[in-house]
């Protein structure tokens, strides 16, 4: 729909700008807050322009943290979050690829049942099964470990379902041609299916990385050792100081840092991500 009417393009731009402002303003506010000093918020007026303490605040948070709130230096928490998000994304993709491959390309008894059982787990997100899951993880002695943090989050019906749909669009002849060409099941998977799924994998990686990064409830439950804190749950601890005002300028510095990695992942994988959603290489 191409229309050349000045009023219309003014209106559309206005709507877009208002939308952007609504989304960006809180982020801007957080950034401004992270650049001010200790007492600047006690007056009750929120400053709208950046203050002079930018470097000081971020340095303090990254290297020392707020020990009175029981929060370790931010770089430890950022590191934990990064490790966990990557393990979850990679683990989910690996498992879903394999299970979708089995469901689509092999004929075995109860294949459909297997698919539906996987599919039904979509109805059971972490929050719903959190108590039994916690019990199992605790009994296995996995509290305060990366395994305990990631394993319950890895099995994924969504990704399995997406890969299944993609594999279903691959013509049977391709597999038959590969069979005639002497490629066994594993070779077919590695040489043909994986390269064809490349863009889908990239798109899923972005989504799943962010999913892993923003996990809050589960890390809160299974970690008591501050060495395994993730940044998203750490922010909560920073804000909840026992006595006195929260140190908002430091909390906001942590918030800004916590937002950074997902943004970077989206920016750098955007090209592949969009390709994966739009283009099919067939």
């Amino acid at each position: 729909m191409v229309e050349n009417r000045p009023f219309l393009s003014f209106l559309t731009h206005l709507v877009l700008i208002v939308g952007v402002v609504i989304v960006v303003f809180p982020v801007y506010l957080a950034f401004v807050a992270s650049t001010h000093g200790n007492g600047d918020f006690l007056s009750g007026l929120v400053p709208l322009l950046p203050g002079p303490n930018l470097i000081e605040n971020y340095r303090l948070m990254l290297t020392e943290g707020i020990s009175t709130a029981g929060a370790p230096p931010l770089w430890i928490m950022l590191g934990n979050s990064l490790v966990i998000a990557i393990i979850i994304a990679v683990g989910k993709i690996a498992i879903s690829l394999l299970s979708a491959y089995a469901i689509v390309f092999f004929k075995f008894p109860f294949r459909l049942l297997a698919f539906w059982i996987i599919f039904i787990t979509l109805m059971l997100p972490v929050e719903v099964r959190i108590i039994p899951t916690f019990k199992v993880v605790a009994d296995l002695g996995l509290l305060n470990s990366y395994v305990g943090l990631t394993l319950p989050l890895i099995a994924s019906a969504t990704a399995t379902f997406l890969f299944r749909q993609f594999f279903l669009t691959i013509p049977d002849e391709l597999m038959e041609a590969a069979r005639v060409d002497g490629a066994g099941p594993l070779k077919f998977f590695r040489d043909i299916l994986l390269p064809l799924s490349r863009t889908n994998i990239a798109a899923l990686f972005v989504i799943l990385f962010i999913y892993g990064w923003v996990q809050y409830l589960w890390p809160l439950l299974v970690t008591t050792d501050s060495r395994y804190y993730t940044v998203v749950m750490g922010i909560k601890r920073l804000a909840a100081t026992a006595d006195g005002e929260p140190q908002w300028h430091l909390v906001m510095a942590a918030v800004m840092l916590a937002m950074l990695p997902p943004v970077l992942v989206v920016i750098f994988m955007q090209r592949l991500f969009v390709k994966g959603l739009v283009e099919t290489e067939k």
């Binding site: 391709l174 041609a177 590969a178 005639v180 490629a183 043909i192 064809l196």
Partner: protein, 354 residues
């Protein structure tokens, strides 16, 4: 180079039989075309030979070796698929090499064969392109190249030309024929296009309902169709099949001397003429319904006077005949094909008269 023997080959899908016992022996270097309407089991048969479809009972021998239990890769065959089935993420070269690499062929040998196939098929300049950058005809060549580089005992073609437009199809048909002559590789070729079947085949297998209706050279099949089905399937426009009653009273009928059991007479459209030939002939009165000029010849749709049976004849040029006009059709006794409706078979000897 090898022979292929199919012995009493059967395939059931559950309780539904798709192939009901096929016996066929393909000689070394021969190109056999399997032709039939869709659902006749021809593709299933080919896929069984390829090893992509399990065998319910019977034997498949390629180069004298029973391969029923063997994987497709172990059968020493190469297959060309209808939708080409090229690997979309690989370049043309990688597509050609893939099967050879999986077999652990040495590098120099791979390069030699790829170069040779590229020369034969004239796809040299495209070796580094991806399949999606190629046109339909070029993809078809690459698919054939992938079969050639393997230097297999047999080629299997599964309707390889049906995704191409009409002009390209004719061109590729000729090329496949030339290629097969040149390489002398035993080939099985499945198609539903009878023109493709007639022009390509050394021998033709006409299939219907999971059974072989007739096996013979294209001219044998055309000149002496063994069954009513073959008579109606091969030839365009199809053979006219007239019940005996509808022509019983026609002049010249008494002298025909038809074999016992004949109750259907087949006449090819091009063997019905409007001018009375010399010698013995059968004369049928009819009225013209429609004249279809198709260039060098015309198809004349008529109805026989009395029986009201529809008949098509092809006549040379563009005759000046008005619709509704009365005409007389003549046929020579030697051009009549006698059939029995009950058994569906010819009532005279199946082998052509000397």
């Amino acid at each position: 180079m090898a022979t292929i023997n199919l012995v009493d080959l059967k395939k059931n899908y559950g309780s539904v039989p798709a192939v009901k016992g096929i016996n066929l022996s393909v000689k070394d270097g021969e190109l056999i075309v399997l032709v039939g309407p869709s659902g006749c089991g021809k593709s299933t048969l080919l896929r069984m030979v390829a090893g992509l479809e399990s065998v319910t009972s019977g034997r498949i021998e390629i180069a004298g070796r029973d391969v029923v239990k063997a994987e497709p890769a172990e059968r020493d065959i190469a297959m060309v698929f209808q939708n080409y089935a090229l690997y979309p993420h690989m370049t043309v070269r990688q597509n050609l090499e893939y099967g050879l690499k999986n077999r652990g062929t040495p590098r120099e040998e791979i390069d030699r064969r790829v170069k040779e196939a590229a020369d034969i098929l004239e796809i040299g300049p495209m070796l580094d392109r991806k399949p999606r950058q190629l046109s339909g005809g070029q993809r078809q060549r690459v698919a054939m190249g992938r079969a050639i580089v393997r230097e297999p005992a047999a080629f299997l073609f599964d309707e390889p030309l049906s995704n191409l437009d009409a002009k390209l199809r004719v061109q590729m048909r000729v090329e496949i024929r030339k290629l097969q002559r040149r390489l002398k590789t035993t080939s099985l070729y499945v198609t539903h296009d009878q023109l493709e079947a007639m022009t390509l085949a050394d021998r033709l297998v006409v299939m219907n309902n999971g059974l072989v209706e007739q096996l013979g050279t294209p001219t044998e099949v055309y000149d002496r169709p063994a069954t009513l089905f073959v008579a109606g399937f091969i030839g365009s426009p199809p053979m006219n099949l007239l019940s005996l009653e509808s022509i019983a009273g026609a002049p010249g009928f008494e002298g025909l001397n038809l074999p016992d059991g004949t109750d259907v007479i087949g006449i090819r459209p091009d063997q019905l003429v409007l001018d009375q030939p010399t010698g013995q002939n059968l004369a049928l009165a009819a009225s013209v319904e429609l004249l279809e000029p198709i260039g060098g010849e015309s198809h004349l749709h008529v109805r026989l006077t009395g029986s009201n049976q529809a008949v098509i004849l092809s006549v040379p040029g563009r005759p000046d005949i008005a619709e509704g006009a009365a005409v007389t059709l003549y046929a020579r006794p030697a051009d009549l094909h006698p059939f029995n409706r009950e058994s569906g078979r010819r009532t005279d000897t199946a082998v052509a008269n000397p």
